[in-house]
């Protein structure tokens, strides 16, 4: 398997289409502005066709130049049309192979393979990774087997004839959960904004009424019409988002294969992620505003792999939506380092005042401005005080931390409620912050950072007891620990 190989020719088409997609906006501008002057029409028409042809020729040439081979334990890729580039990736540096199948690939029974390494950080966006846009499943399997054989050789003391690859299904999403996920994710924002837009439309015609007395009826019906159209538009967007999510997450399965988590998902475009267990930096459980009251939550894994470009591969969703109660049962048997049944210590009650004031500080300028400028109606914004107080109360109530089983757990709310489980040896740095006001109340803010992709992620809990912050500090310290 050492002779250089090309990708399947369909890769040329895929690349060309991707180029086209990136060019679509300049292209549209070009065409729209072009069609103004009549005698230039033909020029623009041929120009556009020429551009498309050029892109395809470029795609084919790029494909022609791209070769890969496996040689001396390295994946060697050579590419580049004008500047020849070579990238040699040693197999023992490869963290995972991510497979995905787009529609084009599926038509021809091909896969796209993304080779992930630890990445050397900082240097260029796609550093330390390679993408084979379209190769046959057979070829992908050969690369995979080769990778496995190298990895096996690397750990000889683990008696080689050990258990043949274990393959446990950790989680498989049910149809109801998929529906749940689709209706309560992303689209939610759209729905809320739709409702807001609706309400706004009605508010809008109140001054209209006073100013244009005669045309009142006309304006009113116009506004209603506009709101209906806007609402319908949002509804449509929501339905599209819903189907998008369903297509993306259909057949979502998490398996544990040896020491890797393998996630597969997608209906039209199939994707597969592999996360080596030892690359897991932290586990995050998120509950958004809609799911929390229903008792549902999602679980993510912060992983050290992935490139800077691709956020998806550093924070990977492993349980898209599941009853929160079930999470420990699902994850604990497989992620044995983590314990999900921990007792969190809440923030002391004197911290609530601080949460309350901080919330009010944020809404007060809005209220003052509203009262100042919109005299009679502005007073309505006083409701914000109550809303903010409630929100602060939620924030305060969700604050918590725990130190248990060599594991640090933070719970806090940004907009969604997050619970982050971190192991001591994965925490990159730990800070205790104390402002003047916190010092008076003997409170402190604690912050722990883990690696996630190329950057950091982690958690911050505001206003825990000062002495608790200190005890976490001592726990994290390698020297003062008794």
């Amino acid at each position: 398997m050492s002779e250089p190989k090309r990708l399947h020719p369909i890769a040329a088409v895929v690349n060309a289409l991707r180029q086209l997609k990136e060019l679509i906006i300049p292209f549209l501008v070009f065409v729209v502005f072009g069609s103004r002057g009549t005698n230039w029409d033909l020029f623009y028409f041929y120009g556009s066709i020429g551009a498309v042809v050029l892109i395809f020729v470029y795609g084919v040439l790029t494909w022609y130049r791209f070769t890969y081979r496996i040689e001396q334990g390295e994946l060697r890729i050579e590419y580049g049309l004008i500047i020849r580039k070579k990238r040699y990736i040693p197999f023992d540096r490869i963290q995972s192979l991510d497979l995905s199948e787009g529609i084009l690939q599926r038509l021809f029974g091909l896969v796209k393979v993304k080779v992930e390494t630890a990445g050397s950080g900082g240097m260029g966006l796609q550093d330390g990774e390679a993408v084979l846009t379209a190769i046959t499943k057979q070829e992908a399997k050969e690369i995979h087997d080769y990778l496995i054989s190298i990895k096996k050789r690397a750990v000889p003391e683990d008696e080689n004839q050990e258990q043949e690859t274990r393959d446990d299904i950790l989680y498989k999403m049910s149809a109801t959960e998929l529906l749940m996920l689709a209706t309560t994710s992303g689209g939610v924002g759209v729905v809320i904004s739709a409702v807001l837009a609706f309400v706004f439309q009605f508010e809008e015609f109140i001054p209209y009424e006073q100013i244009f007395d005669g045309v009142e009826h006309f304006v009113q019906s116009g506004v209603v019409f506009v709101s209906v159209v806007v609402f319908a538009g949002f509804l449509l967007a929501w339905v599209i988002a819903l189907f998008g999510t369903m297509l993306k997450y259909a057949n979502f399965t998490v398996r544990k294969v040896d020491n890797d988590l393998v996630i597969t998902r997608g209906l039209l475009e199939k994707r597969q992620f592999t996360i080596p267990l030892n690359r897991i930096q932290a586990i995050r459980i998120s509950e958004n505003l809609i799911r929390q009251p229903l008792g549902y939550a999602s679980a993510y894994v912060e992983s050290a792999g992935g490139s800077a470009l691709d956020q998806e591969s550093s924070r990977v969703i492993i349980l898209p939506i599941v009853k929160k109660k079930k999470i420990p049962g699902l994850l604990e048997p497989h992620l044995t380092d983590y314990h999900f049944r921990v007792d969190l210590i809440p923030a002391p009650s004197r911290a609530y005042v601080r949460y309350l004031f901080k919330g009010w500080l944020f809404v007060l300028p809005i209220i003052i401005a509203a009262i100042w400028f919109l005299r009679p109606w502005g007073y309505g914004t006083l409701v914000l005080l109550a809303v903010s107080a409630l929100w602060s109360f939620l924030n305060y109530k969700d604050t918590g931390w725990s130190l248990d089983h060599g594991m640090l757990t933070f719970r806090y709310r940004s907009i969604v409620k997050n619970t982050v489980y971190m192991r001591k040896n994965k925490v990159q740095s730990f800070s205790v912050k104390e402002s003047f006001f916190q010092r008076n109340k003997k409170l402190a803010t604690v912050e722990a950072i883990v690696k996630s992709g190329h950057g950091g992620a982690g958690g911050k809990v505001i206003d825990v007891e000062k002495k608790d912050a200190e005890s976490i500090y001592h726990w994290y310290s390698h020297e003062t620990a008794e």
């Binding site: 630890a118 950080g121 030892n278 050290a304 040896n425 994965k426 925490v427 990159q428 740095s429 730990f430 800070s431 205790v432 912050k433 104390e434 402002s435 003047f436 010092r439 950072i449 883990v450 690696k451 996630s452 950057g455 950091g456 992620a457 982690g458 002495k467 200190e470 005890s471 500090y473 001592h474 994290y476 310290s477 390698h478 020297e479 003062t480």
Partner: protein, 160 residues
């Protein structure tokens, strides 16, 4: 159980450097105030504008040249131990950070012209996820710190 303060302070010359660089950017404020004064005189605007402008510049200078650098310098502590690095800094919000040695990926020192003149340099400590900075250390100290950190820090492969 309280956290003991880190022992080492950064160089006293750091304070001088901070004050000098604060002077430089305060100069801009004074120039603006001067400009405003000139315009006020020229167009016969009310004179309180001059007072306000000069007063603002004066307060700004006091804050940024004298008060803040002093507070900052007083607060800045660090300590490099066998197993970990401890930093403490901040004027209004005091932040105390702990970085275990085994998490340190690399250490850089750097200095601008002003720091070089005063034989100081800035040490930057990078982990896999975060970057921490100790500003304005004595050059020799920074150098020895860098070597000792890189000696102590060893990357534990399985953890990253």
């Amino acid at each position: 159980m309280t956290i003991s303060e880190p022992q080492k302070r950064i160089s006293e010359r750091a304070l001088t450097v901070w004050k000098i660089s604060a002077c430089i950017h305060t100069l801009v404020v004074w120039l603006l105030a001067g400009g405003l004064t000139t315009i006020t005189v020229f167009f016969d605007w009310p004179y309180w504008i001059i007072g306000a402008a000069l007063g603002f510049a004066a307060v700004y200078s006091y804050l940024f040249i004298i008060l803040l650098p002093t507070l900052r310098w007083k607060r800045w502590r660090y300590e490099v131990r066998e197993q970990e690095i401890e930093l403490q800094y901040g004027v209004f919000i005091i932040k105390k950070t702990l970085i275990p040695m085994i998490r340190v990926q690399h250490v850089d020192t750097q200095q601008g012209p002003l720091l070089r003149k005063y034989k100081l340099s800035t040490v930057t400590i990078s982990t896999a996820a975060t970057v921490h900075e100790i500003p304005a250390l004595d050059m020799e100290e920074a150098e020895s710190l860098r070597t000792s950190i890189s000696r102590l820090a060893r990357v534990a492969d399985e953890d990253v």
